[in-house]
Symmetry: C2
Subunit: 478 residues, 2 copies
């Protein structure tokens, strides 16, 4: 390193950098060309890519074994991930349970490559068939790579476009933050959510397609189409330029006002942060890994691990044959939910600014005890059987919402690399102002956007359903 003084760069006002980024994204969101090219790419890819997944008993899963020392299910190479037992205790309310959990101690990359085309930001999306997808192809990030992927442990092909995410000289960063995966399924798992822009010429390979943010927003309303990683990244984009298109009191305008940097908010951010600090300091959740055999409420039966009362989920084995993916054939454990889950948010307009009712929720696999979650996050089939006073707060309100109050309602898949035919209903319901129970706060999208710049604030379900809400950002012809 030379320490010879050279001229420093000229500082740019922070305000200007942020507004510029937000405006470019807002412009991309307002640009909604037709989807004919996209449909055609889907057709072509569907003919080229084929994934066949069949369930096989966990004890006959090639390449995997029950480890006698640990009591975990592990890959013979010691890499990829393991399925472990987790024993959890909470203090208030006092409760204890055991469950299987996935341990994958590495940080993968989930990334969008962005590029200006005709002056508008486009994102290079991959049409990808994951083994757990019930419908084949889903709209996935440009790159979706575990460390195993990109260091070649799979023995598969090189991950296309990975160089833009690995080489700082070839990118301009729009977002880059490690975010949690589901804290009730993954043990301290985080992925690096990245959006990088290039000015180099980039060719869309087969199975890749350029989309504007507006097109992506349109596709969010299609069942099981936009995959979980894509939704997670979308929630990390600094959308919102603080310039509502119109002055009316409509939903879209309230949404734009909610995204405005420095805009009006019911709680100053410092109060919201203090509420989070307090909950995390007092959180009494403890978790430790144990042998899968030690989980009293779970049993290994019929080649899978399931809850004795058939609740929650089961761990199954699958054999995958793929054409057009990195490796032709492999086996792996997967998680299959017993019933669809619900990720629902209540939203309200406060003096013309949309606020979202967020819940602070502890989950045993989260790195920092508790993160913001949707207003209601549960398995409706299970909750509906509980007496009303034991159901999650606001459960009945969102389940029984009048159609006129529903702003978004689509079933979207969990990550098809680990979850088998498993999805969640994503629901956005508008309501009058409601008082906040202690574990809830009304926050603006700008505040939530500021928090998603950092790790450990919004859980996966929150990011996913907020991406749905943000997809209602006024597009070209709405």
């Amino acid at each position: 390193m030379s320490t010879a003084p050279i001229a420093p760069p000229v500082p740019v006002p922070a305000e200007r950098s942020r507004l510029t980024a937000a405006r470019r994204l807002a412009e991309s969101a307002r640009t909604v060309p037709g989807l004919a090219e996209f449909e055609q790419a889907v057709q072509e890819t569907r003919e080229r890519v084929l994934t066949i997944t069949e369930t096989v008993p966990l004890d006959r899963l090639s390449g995997w074994h029950f480890d006698d020392d640990t009591g975990f299910i592990a890959h013979d190479s010691g890499r990829f991930f393991s399925v472990e037992g987790l024993q959890v205790e909470t203090q208030s309310p006092a409760a204890a349970w055991g469950q299987p959990i996935i341990n994958q101690p590495e940080t993968g990359i989930l990334g969008f490559l962005a590029k200006e085309i005709d002056g508008v930001l486009h994102f290079l999306m991959q049409l990808k068939a994951e083994p757990g997808n019930r419908n084949g192809l889903q709209v996935s990030p440009t790159v979706q790579a575990t460390r195993s992927n990109y260091t070649g442990i799979h023995g598969g092909l090189q991950v296309p476009y990975l160089e833009y995410f690995q080489d700082p000289a070839r990118r301009r960063v729009i977002a880059d933050v490690r975010q949690s995966e589901q804290g009730s399924r993954f043990l301290r798992k985080r992925n690096r959510n990245m959006v990088v822009e290039t000015t180099e010429p980039v060719e869309a390979l087969e199975g890749f397609v350029w989309l504007t943010l507006g097109q992506l927003h349109r596709l969010m309303a299609v069942e099981d189409l936009v995959n979980m990683s894509t939704r997670s990244i979308l929630a990390c984009l600094p959308l919102g330029d603080g310039v509502p298109a119109t002055g009316d009191r409509g939903f879209g305008t309230a949404l734009e006002r909610s995204l405005a940097l420095g805009g009006p908010e019911v709680h100053p951010l410092v109060d919201a942060l203090s509420w989070i600090t307090e909950a995390r300091t007092l959180s009494g959740m403890r978790a430790r890994t144990v042998s899968l055999d030690a989980l009293a409420d779970w049993e290994f039966t019929g080649g899978r691990i399931r809850h004795r009362a058939e609740r929650h989920f089961e761990v199954i084995g699958v054999r995958v044959e793929a054409v057009g993916r990195e490796v032709g054939q492999w086996c792996q454990p997967m998680i299959r939910a017993q019933a669809p889950e619900l990720a629902a948010i209540l939203v309200t307009r406060v003096h013309g600014v949309l606020h979202v009712l967020m819940q602070l929720r502890a989950e045993p696999g989260l790195t920092d005890t508790a993160e913001l979650a949707p207003t209601v996050q549960c398995t409706p089939d299970t909750c509906a059987q509980l007496p009303p006073e034991q159901r999650p707060l606001f459960f009945d309100l969102v389940q029984n919402a009048r159609p006129a109050d529903i702003r978004f309602d689509t079933v979207l898949s969990d990550e098809g690399g680990r979850f088998y035919h498993t999805g969640s209903r994503h629901l956005v319901v508008e309501t009058e102002w409601l008082p906040e129970p202690p574990q809830f706060r009304w926050l603006t999208l700008a505040q939530l956007g500021e928090l998603t710049q950092h790790s450990h604030y919004l859980n996966m379900q929150a990011r996913s359903v907020l991406a749905c809400l943000r997809s209602l950002f006024p597009g070209g012809d709405r």
Copy 2:
């Protein structure tokens, strides 16, 4: 909970809340009454409070024992903290070492109680004698309480003013964030750094004194006076109103410009965050606790645990007798450094805006692998013996700085509750612009202030020396 709709609060622009908070703090910083009352309070407290600390062999430490099962030093009650062995491995550069480390798995409260007096924010500071202080009293937060303290495990008196930090209804939050302790001495230790304001009448008990931020800033220049917890909290205050007092190109003006919200910066925040995300993702530091006996380079000799080459620090035992503190007599292990440490930052004016050269540094006890550290953080006695090419970057530059370039230079103590007669030289050196090595970035005080709103970004040494830099904020008569 009633779900009957009531009127929502009127949202307040985020910009306005932030500016108001920053302006009130800036006003407090500019208000510097004489320190006669403070001096008198110190005199009176010194007569009333007496702490006698004597070293005793670790194996004759009443209430503590070597645990045969774990190989740790633990309290007989199982509470407070333990001293454990830590085995650390890093990948680049490949290195491995063992060391003792303090494990105290609970989050304490370090808090300032604030109140407006004659229209200016004052902070209620405690004049407190900790057993490790070499000079008796230090200026400490209103409340400095471990969970053991405030749940009464000590069997001591109630912690005064704690109610303002525990009861949300009695406070307005100015700052509230969990921050790390030294990552080379504490295992994943975090304390809650709080500043809360009350409008209730508050009487200053004996040993407490109201100070403006300007007075606190003055006192920072006094050797070993402002304690570590106070410095940590000062770094979390949202100082800086974006309105430099003068238009000149002086150091104070450059400092004020650096604190301005939304002001000019060499790196957009998103780039700084990406740099941190990348380093954390690639960090190869692993640490696991082991028996103290298993540490090859450390030995138990003469009643203390020390490095065989007498480097780093030693773990000693002390017996404390105190008058005017919670408990009259107790014993505990403490850390004693072999030599003073150095926490030095380089600063430079870029087009009239002060920037600080921060280092991203992994430490084995940090919760999230790496945090921002001072430009140079080391033990000078050890580093000076290394050949130049092995010394920390910028070490010679800060050690040999011309007096005219030194903006701050004071030895300040480490926390006297755990560290025995241990201090660090806090040094701020102004330089020309220098190119950034990969692990270094020039950042503004506004950016660092934004990051201190969140956990896991600035390490203790960084917060401490930044508090020193911020103490140069132009006061009344400068």
